[in-house]
């Protein structure tokens, strides 16, 4: 199953490479990875979606190994936490002027926006969960998708809830003791 981690890292050259290499080196498959600056210019935030065939055991390993990177400041696993996750997609659809209304209609239903109109195509911008984006794609496909791009998922927990932190003492934030029994496959 896919797990979602939020990692705060130092905003320095090469840090993305270190994180990506770690997943390759430890033989994990990244489903999506989104990085951007935070309100603190020295800190970047990554949302990493990774496939974890061994569930929490893998999640523990990933967290522990992320902390081995000197530039990683904090890691939380938000997989099972109430959180808001968003993906943004730009989808270019080949559409003749007389069928534009159809695309418009679909966009409205999905709360998407038409952000560019050319003589024979439009670009649709859609934000939402993965499911919602896939749903929209499904309906646009018969009309004709020319190209599309997605940012990858970003995530934030709701309210004051934090994700799970399994590593005691690794960051100054609260961590949860995860009993071994719960992890043993």
């Amino acid at each position: 199953m896919n797990y979602t981690f939020i990692a705060l890292v130092e905003n320095k050259p090469g840090v993305l490479n270190r994180v990506a290499s770690l997943f390759r080196r430890r033989n994990f498959n990244i489903e999506s990875l989104a990085v951007g600056r935070t309100d603190n210019p020295d800190v970047s935030r990554m949302t990493i979606v990774v496939s974890c065939p061994n569930g929490d055991v893998d999640a523990h390993r990933i967290e522990a190994n992320l902390y081995k990177l000197v530039n990683v400041i904090d890691v939380q696993d938000v997989t099972h936490q109430p959180s808001v996750t968003r993906d943004l997609a730009l989808i270019k659809v080949k559409v003749a002027p007389d069928r534009r209304a159809e695309v418009n209609g679909l966009a409205e239903i999905f709360r998407a926006r038409i952000v560019d109109v050319a003589p024979d195509s439009v670009i649709v911008e859609i934000t939402g969960t993965e499911d919602k984006i896939e749903g929209m794609m499904e309906l646009l496909r018969p009309i004709g998708i020319v190209e599309m791009v997605r940012t990858g998922q970003v995530a934030m927990t709701r309210g004051v809830n934090d994700g799970v932190r399994r590593m005691p003492g690794m960051s100054d934030r609260h961590y949860e003791e995860v009993p071994v029994a719960a992890m043993v496959p």
């Binding site: 090469g14 000197v70 003492g169 071994v180």
Partner: protein
């Protein structure tokens, strides 16, 4: 004070207390070598950068300080790679400083440009690319801090040529700012209490002592804990020396070539106390049947090692010395006489098979030779090894009572490690006797460093155990490939002449009766000496747990009738 980047490098090394560096110059680090002339540092010109890396490694392991090795860009840096990986696998603090092409040339495939930080990313604890002079001081300060703190390891600093020649204001940082790097040293009381509850209940406990005990200088605490709780101690290959081999509670080495009684103790124990070790596959055998009856307490500074190979009941993340000191007052005195008695019976059974009890049959066995060197040196020498059968026999029979004198490549198993690490060790302990035990195969991998030993007057005694085979691979082919020998039969040079060509006095030993005298001669001859022993070609290291077997499924040395 304005200084050139190259000078700043040395200013930093001086402040870190560096006395010796092992290196090799080239285009991209020439400014550093030029600046070196004005600093009171001893530079050892090695013959191959791999040798330099192993020397810095051996120096670090013996001195407990951070070792330093240098190389130029491109091929110089790539030659370091094996040495860096070796230090990484064994958690040895070494700072590697490499030259890089000028920053504006990076990415353009300039002459001798190699992406060294890219190559070494997975084999360093951390690495840096420095493109400006004003980054050097902070970077080197961080590099030393990261290398020696937490779980130690190699750190590489790649310095662009322009940064070496540009000038800037020099200030050495008073402290490092690393928000993402905070090694945990202490375990919470709640977990200590859980551990104590397991210790109280245990009837058959055993301590697994790893390299972490030596790294954290916790030998004294280990002794107190073991004696107070009457818990026997077995060591990993790298943990040897942390607990005296002659102590009644010592079980020697565990694992693939460990003592049968140590492995049996683990398989039968009801509580495992892992002190600074990482349950490597070479010590556990197959995990499915590993220590099936035991609860497990794991004291380990690196949280990523906890639950990695073996699920443990109580993880105590922290520095071994601190955590064990915290534990000692919480535990009562116990005796485990029945358990120790059970182990003693296994010990006696092992004795009946020991090659050490064989009568002299005129042949040279490595085990006997190691025993002879042990006797001659009173067991007190610093011993380095290469990798292979001779390494395992040395681990088994050079029984150590003191720490930090056993230098071997464990995690990486790097052939060619023996001679250069001995030279490095000598720089850390010039007043001590140093022996490098090498195989005929591995010795040839870094034999060029003999000249380095001569140039430096390194007082190291080199024993080449020549079985004319890549012995350990031959043993596997004998055991697991129906004796189909493939690419293990090796023509060796005349090692005596080879040594003499380098200016090293040398002797060939082919008979038992020559052994004692040869060892005595080597010991009293100043400077490097080579002894070549023509040993029994097809002896095997016992016991052996075949890879993937259970730890108690050992191939044992057949009992030999007394001659």
């Amino acid at each position: 004070m304005k200084l050139k980047g190259a000078e700043i490098v040395w200013e930093c090394l001086m402040r870190e207390g560096v006395e010796v560096v092992f290196g090799y110059p080239g285009g991209a680090n020439m400014p550093i070598y030029d600046a070196m002339l004005n600093y009171p540092v001893h530079h050892v010109l090695v013959r191959h950068e791999q040798g330099g890396a192993h020397m810095a490694d051996g120096y670090a392991r013996v001195s407990g300080k951070v070792g330093v090795a240098m190389a130029t860009s491109g091929p110089g840096a790539t030659n370091l790679v094996t040495g860096i990986a070796t230090a990484m696998m064994d958690s040895v603090p070494v700072v590697f400083i490499t030259g890089q092409v000028a920053a504006h040339l990076i990415g353009g495939d300039a002459f001798q440009e190699t992406d060294v930080t890219g190559i070494t990313l997975p084999i360093t604890k951390h690495n840096y690319l420095v493109t400006r002079a004003d980054q050097i001081a902070e970077t080197i300060c961080e590099a030393f801090y990261i290398a020696r703190s937490g779980r130690p390891g190699p750190v590489l600093v790649d310095i662009c040529k322009n940064a070496q020649v540009e000038s800037c204001e020099f200030v050495y940082p008073e402290e490092v700012k690393l928000p993402g790097y905070q090694p945990v040293t202490r375990s919470p009381r709640s977990l200590l209490d859980e551990a104590v509850a397991l210790i109280e209940k245990a009837k058959k406990p055993v301590i697994l002592c790893g390299h972490g005990v030596l790294m954290s200088k916790a030998e004294e605490e280990l002794m107190q804990f073991a004696v107070k709780t009457q818990t026997p101690v077995t060591s990993t290959l790298l943990g040897l020396g942390a607990f005296p081999a002659s102590h009644p509670l010592s079980l020697g080495m565990m694992g693939m070539h460990g003592e049968a009684y140590a492995n049996n103790a683990i398989q039968n124990s009801d509580l495992i106390l892992a002190f600074g070790m990482r349950f490597d596959d070479r010590v556990t055998g197959t995990l499915k049947t590993y220590a099936p009856k035991a609860k497990k307490i794991h004291i380990e500074i690196d949280p990523s090692e906890v639950h990695k190979n073996v699920f443990v009941d109580v993880p105590l993340v922290g520095d071994v010395k601190t955590v064990v000191s915290d534990l000692i007052p919480l535990v009562d005195e116990y005796d485990h006489d029945e358990w120790l008695e059970e182990i003693n019976n296994w010990k006696n059974e092992a004795d009946s098979r020991s090659i050490m009890n064989w009568e002299d049959d005129g042949k040279l066995y490595v085990a006997h030779l190691i025993g002879d060197i042990w006797k001659a040196t009173g067991g007190g020498a610093i011993v380095t090894t290469d990798v292979g059968q001779h390494q395992m026999w040395t681990a088994q029979y050079y029984q150590l009572d003191k720490p930090n004198r056993w230098i071997t490549s464990g995690g990486a198993g790097t052939m060619g490690f023996g001679l250069p690490s001995a030279i490095g060790a000598w720089f850390a302990a010039k007043d001590q006797e140093i022996w490098a035990i090498a195989g005929d195969g591995g010795f040839q991998m870094t034999a060029a460093e003999l000249t380095t030993a001569v140039q430096e007057g390194a007082n190291v005694k080199i024993a080449i155990m020549n079985n004319n085979f890549l012995g350990m691979v031959r043993q596997w082919q004998e055991f697991f490939f129906e004796k189909r020998y493939s690419a293990v039969n090796m023509l060796t040079p005349d090692f005596v002449k080879l040594a003499e060509a380098h200016g090293v006095p040398a002797r060939l030993v082919t008979k038992r009766e020559e052994v004692g005298e040869a060892i005595a001669w080597a010991r009293k001859t100043r400077g490097p000496v080579v002894l070549e022993f023509r040993v029994e070609q097809e002896d095997a290291v016992y016991p052996m747990v075949p890879a993937g077997s259970a730890l108690h499924e050992m191939i044992r040395r057949p009992v030999k009738q007394a001659a």
